[in-house]
Amino acid sequence: MLFGKRDLRDAFERQAEKVFPSVFGTALRLTRSREEAEDLAQEAIVRAYEAFDRFDGSNFKAWMLRIVTNLYINRYRARQRGPQINSLDDEAAVEPVAAEGEIPDRILFDNAVGAEVEEALAKVPVDFRTAVILSDIEGMSYQEIADATGVPIGTVRSRLARGRAMLRRFLQDFAMTEGFIKPGGDE
């Protein structure tokens, strides 16, 4: 039994170490606080280790990110008692990502460095940010995101579309502030 435990620990560590940068990166982008992200990532690792014997062996990274997201939603967001922006989940509210498409994307994105994208992403409300992080940074499928966040796939789709539109708008604001583009869309 004890030897079995040792093997389990080794197997868990091998897999967890590989995906840990994603786990910690997601925790950091969700909490926007290094201290809270460290706490969240450690808690997720402990939870995952305790439940490792029940892991189905399919996609370890998706399983870990699901634990991190669930923990964040249950523990950290419970602190936030402010009003929720449920109306934005409405598919009818989806705005085009390229609504102000006169601005060429190469100008918008070529000038943005990682720190600015991080900053713009941090401004996106948490439900939409979670969907964008899990999909576009971590490469999770809609179904995996739905499982991780506990919402239907339709909600995942609309949150993702809204999150992307908001992110592009924030990046565009940044580009204007920095002078990469001028109001009206001229380069």
């Binding site: 085009p96 498409g101 994208v117």
Partner: protein
């Protein structure tokens, strides 16, 4: 007009096969949809290439530390869980052994127990001295009845305890005899057969006489009490 969510799903390769061809055709036919698709792809590309993984080696070390602690706790719980019956049995044996030892060792009392034993005794008339002497448990002890001011007794499972209130030229003192006691805890030896201690704040000297404990209690020094006790055996 094509549903914008379908354009996102197309970009994310999340469309079911049966819808893929139709949506692709609709996008190809709509410049606006193409622009939207291009914007989504650019954004996805930006996020996947510009967002670097944060430095996490230190946090990973901390995680391993947490796992080590968790393993230690689980190991302890495992051992305790597996051998709980043995630990319980061991504890039971220790308690049982202690009880048996005390039971068979017998006759050992504490000073506190002595204080309790000599309280609340029944007064005894002094007009039947021979009967008292007959029952007396300390045959070699010499009681000078002219010094006895009063007497009392108390029956215990070990036998009858006698208490004599006596007086000599230095004042009053008590002599107590308790049968079937071979040792006392909480007293210090002062010679081969006598021990000194305190009962209820009074000095006392203990002596064993053929299985009976003789206790002499008075507000006198230990040396006076020893002399007094020795005088009772002359």
């Amino acid at each position: 007009m094509i549903d914008r969510l379908d354009i996102h799903a197309f970009a994310d390769r999340e469309l079911p096969p049966e819808e893929l061809a139709r949506i692709e055709k609709e996008i190809a036919a709509s410049p606006e949809a193409q622009r939207e698709l291009e914007a989504i792809r650019s954004l996805k590309s930006c996020l996947s290439t510009r967002m670097t993984a944060p430095e996490a080696a230190g946090v990973w070390r901390a995680c391993r530390g947490r796992l080590d602690e968790l393993d230690k706790v689980k190991k302890t719980e495992f051992i305790v869980g597996k051998y709980a019956w043995a630990l319980s049995a061991l504890l039971f044996c220790v308690i049982l052994s202690g009880g048996l030892y005390n039971h068979f060792r017998g006759g050992s009392v504490s000073v506190g127990q002595l204080a309790s034993d000599i309280g609340g005794m029944t007064p005894m008339p002094l007009n039947n001295q021979p009967q008292v002497l007959q029952q007396f448990a300390a045959p070699t002890l010499h009681i000078d009845w002219s010094q006895v001011l009063g007497a009392a007794y108390r029956n215990t499972p070990e036998g009858r305890i006698y208490r004599f209130r006596m007086q000599d030229q230095k004042g009053a003192f008590d002599v107590v005899t308790i049968p079937n006691v071979s040792s006392v805890e909480g007293v210090q030896p002062i010679d081969d057969n006598m021990y000194a201690g305190q009962i209820n704040g009074h000095n006392c000297v203990v002596r064993f006489d053929s299985g009976t404990l003789v206790l002499v209690i008075a507000d006198r020094s230990t040396s006076d009490l020893r002399d007094l006790t020795e005088s009772l055996y002359r």
